[in-house]
């Protein structure tokens, strides 16, 4: 089926089988930051933004993105780097495999929530699993990042 959508602000047109999953489609198009960690919508590794809102690309048909704007980390390099520095300073990217999906959701969170509490942070990001870090370093990174953002305002 014909599809046209924007991936990182670039118009992409293609002809794909109707059951193509968005995750596979994005990787096919060179967005390798998008990872798969499960088949059951549990891990959050595949998080991308559709019209600015975080979605799980593993459980979204590519056709659902018809006419929409999809953003992956390839299209958010500056913001990824900005928060990524804070994560790196905590060693909170151990193997790093969960980092893109996690960071995409952090970016979405900072756009959506003003000054979130610790509990709100944990709840917003609960769907982003990480097996390496035990989450504490990620939380430290987020706190420092939010502090910095506040200070910059």
């Amino acid at each position: 089926m014909k599809i046209s959508l924007w991936i990182n602000d670039k118009l992409i047109e293609d002809d794909i089988p109707a059951d193509t999953i968005l995750l596979e489609f994005l990787r096919e198009k060179g967005c390798y930051s998008v990872k798969r960690g499960c088949e059951t919508s549990n891990c959050g590794l595949c998080t991308v933004l559709m019209e600015g809102k975080p979605i799980l690309s593993c459980s979204t048909l590519a056709l659902r993105a018809e006419g929409k704007h999809i953003t992956t980390m390839e299209g958010l390099q500056e913001e990824a780097k900005e928060f990524g520095e804070f994560l790196a300073d905590q060693g909170g990217e151990q193997c790093g495999f969960c980092s893109p999906g996690f960071i995409m959701n952090v970016i979405a969170m900072t756009r959506e929530l003003e000054d979130p509490t610790e509990q709100e942070i944990k709840e917003y990001l609960a769907g982003n699993l990480c097996r390496c870090t035990g989450y504490q370093s990620q939380l430290r990174a987020i706190r420092n990042y939010l502090e910095m953002k506040k200070g910059a305002k």
């Binding site: 089988p17 390798y32 930051s33 990872k35 960690g37 499960c38 088949e39 059951t40 549990n42 891990c43 590794l45 992956t72 980390m73 390839e74 390099q77 990824a80 780097k81 928060f83 990524g84 520095e85 994560l87 790196a88 300073d89 905590q90 060693g91 909170g92 990217e93 151990q94 193997c95 790093g96 495999f97 969960c98 980092s99 893109p100 960071i103 944990k122 709840e123 990001l125 609960a126 769907g127 982003n128 699993l129 990480c130 097996r131 390496c132 870090t133 035990g134 989450y135 504490q136 370093s137 990620q138 939380l139």
Partner: protein, 767 residues
Amino acid sequence: MKMKAVNTPVRKKDAMALVTGKPVYTDDIAPKDCLVLKILRSPHAHALVKEVKKDAALKVPGVEYVFTHEDVPGTRFTIAGQTFPELSPYDRLILDQRVRFVGDAVAIVAGKDEASVNKAMKLIKVTYEVLEPVLDFTRSKDNRVIIHPESDWSIPVGLEPDKDRNVVCHGIEERGNAEEELAKCSYVVDETYHTKANQQAMMETFRAYTHIDVNGRLNVVSSTQVPFHVRKTLATALEIPKSQIRIVKPRIGGGFGAKQTVVCEMYPAFVSWKTKRPAKIVYTREESQIAASPRHEMQVRVRAGADENGKIQAMIVETLSNAGAYGEHTPTTIGLTGAKTLPLYTSNAKAYKFEFEGVYTNTQAAGAYRGYGATQGTFAVESAVSQLAEKMNIDPIRFREMNMVREGDIMHAYHGETANACALDRCLERAKQMIGWDSKYPCRDMGNGKVRSVGVAMTMQGSSIQQVDVASVSIKTGDDGFYNMQIGATDMGTGCDTILAQMAADCLHTEVDNIVVSGVDTDVSPYDSGSYASSTTYLTGQATIKTCETLKKKIIEAGAQMIGCSSEDAEFNGREVFVPGTDQKVSLKDVANAAMCGSVHTLEACEKSTSPVSPPPFMAATVEIEIDKETGHIELIDYCAAVDCGTVINTNLARVQAEGGIAQGIGMALYEDVVHSKAGKCYTDSFLQYKIPSRLDTGKIRVEFESSYEPTGPFGAKSIGEVVINTPSPAIAHAVYNGTGLRFRELPITGEKIVMGLKELEKDTGK
């Protein structure tokens, strides 16, 4: 040596690439024209493959090959990633006619894309002769069903195996007469514990791709912790010389021991070697749950006895381990259930005994998971010690203080090594203070049906396998004076590329950024037994220091010649070779560049390390939990850990290692469990059924370091990677007891079990 980089929180070298999502993992860099492979798996726990009808599958457009046991080489091998001497049985084939667990490989299907291969899988008709399985590991020995009847089963170095009785290994170690001494004790506990299989659940599942290079050699790019052992396994399995194989390790999305086993590489390797075409396999999460390499399920009986003064005088540990269908890592993990627990308490005891046995069953084969047997043993022994303290009416921390190993003690049960660097006493005191033990032990009723309670546990691990593991490092000086460092140890996200560069930077008096570290490529990297057994920081660190010393000598020699002085008079400060007290000097840049032209100075060095000892890191932990007596729900309030890993090389990475290991241990304690149906089918085949902790589940984890100085370690360091996973199960089980009176000797401790237990308790007390 002045430490500038060591003991600081240097960022990982690959950090920015990882956090900006660069394509650095196996599947990101696999060529697009790879054949895509899928494995057709057995629905039976034990069966013989009688016939495989593949015509219909081969007719699916895009499908190119279907291979069965008739197509593969007939030499048995082990997929355990271990160096010599090999203790694991050679009991596998790439595809075997006999399938031994639900999920065992029956056929390899290869095609141009996933969709066509998946379609073909459904069209393959397999006829099985279904056999009776052995699913209960306590009934495996001498069962009439023999899991490995084949005559070509072998084992390079066996620990009393007896495969005709389903026994993979057996052994006894004893000092003094433990039974006799136990009988003399005034207070004795005798309990049996049961720990379950757990999945490492690293976020990147098993995967590899393979192709044939310009010289006709097999190239394998694999997400592995043990590149050199992948080469060894593939050479045996494919019956080709090692010189024909090259393994490259890109960035890895987590391993935790899972990737110390060659779980998936033989399939694409076989296909590429046979067809000369590139091939790739990426396991689904389901496959990584049902046909992988989880922690060994174990049954551990502990008998511990103390005299009337509260001194432990005798301890006996008996471990039965479930190998599953194949024996990789079984003879080696099992030893740690005793060797990493008994020494904590038996330095001054009269006797101890350790007996072990590993048996086959028709379940998913177990392998290496962080902690490697020590985790299971620690749950059992620490639980028994807490119970013994209670029996004697002594505070469980006090009781440990009275009995634990201290610096200078000889650990008879740990190869007779002396605890040269041991801050366990300080760790325990610290963990006690951190949680506020005295005001919280044993529990506080919160008045709303909830109770808050505390628990304690301590543990040790090793640092490399003494007299076995080897690590080598090579460093060469490039023009202008930068360094290329090659290590055979694999960075699996743990940051060893950075940690070792920190050490090298301090040894060569330079900046971490001036040291370029290359990932493992078996064609060029020096041999390393691999990143396991907590060996990298300690052993590869030792090799790093040695290499730097040799290299420095060479730089000084070359520099001295340029200055025109004797090398004995010259020194090197990282920037220049100079003669102290004079203005004679030559810069490293000039020395390095001079070596590039008309020179015989090879400014490179390669040194190797192996260690006669395996100095244990120690750790003590306390935990506070809140138990909802209505629902059985456990909430982690505070997990306090004090770790003695010797000198901390990278303060950030060590902390994150500890926090991550504790979180995994919490999962093991509370919900992670590989569950099978009565027919042997694995129910926990996804993250829906197999729950790992999310950020809402881990509570607060606090880690502090109480460092000792290990004289044999690089900069005084010991290991950290594994010791950190051991304490949660016993500490949480202890806290649950202190809050409810329920002693859990089987993991995981689910809310359901707590509610049931409390009901029973009420009945018993007639309330």
